[in-house]
């Protein structure tokens, strides 16, 4: 093993695979990887750890009484779910956005209230074996409330399905982006079966793996058997998830779409505001549409969009343990606009402050929140699928400030992805 100093890294052609990566690990050490090690634990670290654990324990104890009663409902619901899904046909591999093909979809429980839903794009890690960088993830997401819990439910085209008790999670967890609670968890949820559950599929559709955090904070990976001979598809995965989360309903596409239509007044990201939705198409076929003036590059208007899309409660002081948000408090900061697109920072408490480079799009007279251009995959999704012109992206998001859209090619997308059809597109 060559012991190199951090200032003497090997060149690529000096490296080569060996039997057990011994040489590679030596190179890492030579590159100075020990600098990443944390050294000694912080002096107050143990106290902090135990305080966190105690807070979580108190939450769980609070819910035990109601959990017992809920268990009967769980058993009943599970039985109904299994009965309703017992005659599924062989699954189709999931290859498009949720509303663009058949299969089965998950809906919130029938008694859910305050249902908000969202269709959109999500980014996955690039370049791994099971999720290649060429994948785009179209997702649908619900946030809803039952008598027992406030929940987030999502599924995407890779077959990743997930349900999370958004108000049961500890204050310092990382689920803020998906389902930021609209209020502080003053009333602990009674959700007692599964705290978080997700199912991931290999890109070839053959392998299925899952993970779970249950009520006892188990965090070990679990193996999840899908129905349908191991194929990775909503048909296979939806029942698997539904069997784990109380009240979820497995429905077909028609019922799924009907449900969305019925809940349009409560959705949090109206698909009509998407750049290529059917609604947009109708507008474009009308006679001689006037050329609109540039929209106002107004942080307050963008904040309204971000606040609604991310369900931020401005009255919530934030959770204990979080640092203060951006110096000005909640809001949108530093918007940079180009035509009907903009990039800005959004400050909110649950993600430990302020997210930079959130993207907004002006549609039908108001700003809509598109997503966060924080990693290459997100940037590519926003540019290639959400219709943001690359040159505009360059303008509001200068390449020298971080990831630029040119990296999409570098990520290894061999073929241009199909155009985003819109959740209800033809």
């Amino acid at each position: 093993m060559t012991d190199r100093t951090p200032h003497d890294p090997p060149s690529g052609d000096q490296l080569g695979p060996d039997d057990d990566g011994v040489r590679d690990l030596g190179v890492l050490r030579g590159l100075g990887f020990d600098a990443l090690s944390g050294g000694d634990a912080p002096l107050d670290g143990l106290h902090d750890v135990k305080a966190r654990a105690e807070r979580s324990t108190r939450r769980r104890r609070w819910t035990v009484g109601a959990a017992a009663a809920a268990a009967l409902l769980v058993v009943g619901s599970l039985g109904l779910l299994l009965a309703s899904t017992g005659e599924e046909s062989a699954p189709d591999v999931y290859t498009g956005p949720p509303a663009a093909q058949g299969g089965h979809f998950l809906l919130p429980p029938a008694d859910a209230t305050d249902v908000g839903w969202q269709l959109g794009l999500d980014a996955v890690d690039a370049g791994s074996d099971d999720i290649p960088s060429t994948e785009h993830v179209d997702f649908y997401r619900f946030e809803y409330e039952t008598a027992a819990a406030k929940m987030s439910l999502s599924a995407d085209r890779l077959g990743t399905s997930e349900a999370t008790a958004v108000e049961s999670i500890p204050s310092n967890d990382y689920y803020g982006v998906v389902g930021e609670p609209s209020s502080a968890p003053s009333e602990p949820a009674n959700f007692s079966t599964i705290w978080s559950f997700w199912i991931n599929c290999a890109s070839d559709g053959a392998a299925v793996a899952g993970g779970a955090l249950d009520e006892a904070w188990n965090f070990e990976l679990r193996s999840v058997e899908s129905g349908g001979g191991g194929e990775c598809s909503p048909t296979a995965l939806a029942p698997a998830l539904a069997s784990q989360v109380r009240g979820l309903r497995v429905v077909d596409e028609a019922e799924f779409l009907e449900y969305l239509r019925d809940h349009t007044d409560t959705n949090t990201l109206d698909p009509a505001n998407r750049p290529t939705t059917t609604a947009t198409t109708v507008v474009s076929t009308s006679t001689t549409p006037p050329v609109p003036p540039d929209p106002p590059c107004d942080a307050h208007l963008m904040w309204e969009a971000a606040r609604d899309a991310l369900q931020i409660d401005e009255n919530d002081p934030g959770y204990e343990g979080f640092g203060p948000p951006f110096e000005g408090g909640y809001g949108v900061y530093g918007p940079r606009c180009s035509g009907d697109w903009a990039a800005a920072s959004v400050s909110r408490p649950y993600t430990q402050g302020t997210d930079a480079n959130d993207i907004f799009h002006w549609v039908d007279g108001r700003w809509t929140y598109v997503g966060n251009a924080g990693v290459p995959t997100s940037v590519c999704l926003i540019v290639e699928r959400m219709g943001m012109p690359p040159e505009v992206f360059d303008e509001v998001y200068p390449p020298n400030e971080g990831i630029d859209w040119h990296s999409c090619v570098e990520l290894g997308w061999p073929d241009p992805p199909p155009p985003w059809p819109g959740p209800y597109g033809p």
Binding site: V22, D24, L36, S37, L46, G127, S133, I403
Partner: protein, 178 residues
């Protein structure tokens, strides 16, 4: 019995995991904090996020300590760290630009500068490569153990590790010249 910390071994240059003979939580925490933080820093390439993940992982383990202390608890802690890193990755985009914080008085500025360089280089790697590096280097797992943990083939682990090392070497060389 106290948790026993071995010095960093030289095999492969990886940071040797800390074997714990008897699982006293406080000892496990103190002995393995550094390697767990290294693991999280490698996967997340985000100092603040990594510290948060490690604290949260230990908190979750502490809540269940009675169940896991009879075994070697390190795999549980490691799984918790890794899963929380994944959750963080899935749920929140990592910060594009790390907040510039001044080096602490205790920390050597050169080490910190190198760490930032490495983390910057790590952001260019696919997440799976970072996981492999983290588990091999800071988790001290063998190729087979890493493969089992990530549910991929052993050969894939080797390929990921090699590609990651090669990319890091090139990237760090470029950063050195910036």
């Amino acid at each position: 019995l106290e948790a026993e910390e071995q010095g960093r071994g030289d095999e492969g240059g990886a940071a040797t995991p800390v074997p714990v003979l008897v699982a006293d939580f406080d000892s496990v925490y103190r002995a393995s904090y550094g390697s767990m933080l290294g693991l999280a820093r490698t996967v997340l390439a985000d100092d603040a996020g990594a510290e948060e993940v490690v604290q949260e992982a230990f908190a979750r383990c502490f809540s269940k300590w009675a169940r896991i202390e009879s075994d070697d608890p390190l795999p549980y802690v490691r799984s918790a760290v890794l899963n929380l890193c994944r959750s963080r990755f899935r749920r929140k985009e990592p910060p594009l630009r790390a907040a510039p914080d001044a080096p602490s008085a205790e920390e050597d500025a050169a080490v910190e500068a190198r760490r930032r360089q490495i983390q910057r280089a790590l952001t260019e790697l696919p997440a799976r490569q970072r996981e492999v590096v983290a588990l091999r280097y800071f988790g001290g797992l063998s190729t087979d153990e890493t493969a089992a943990t990530l549910d991929i083939a052993a050969g894939t682990v080797k390929v990921h590790l090699h590609r990651a090392v090669r990319a890091l070497a090139v990237e760090l060389e470029e950063l050195r010249h910036d």
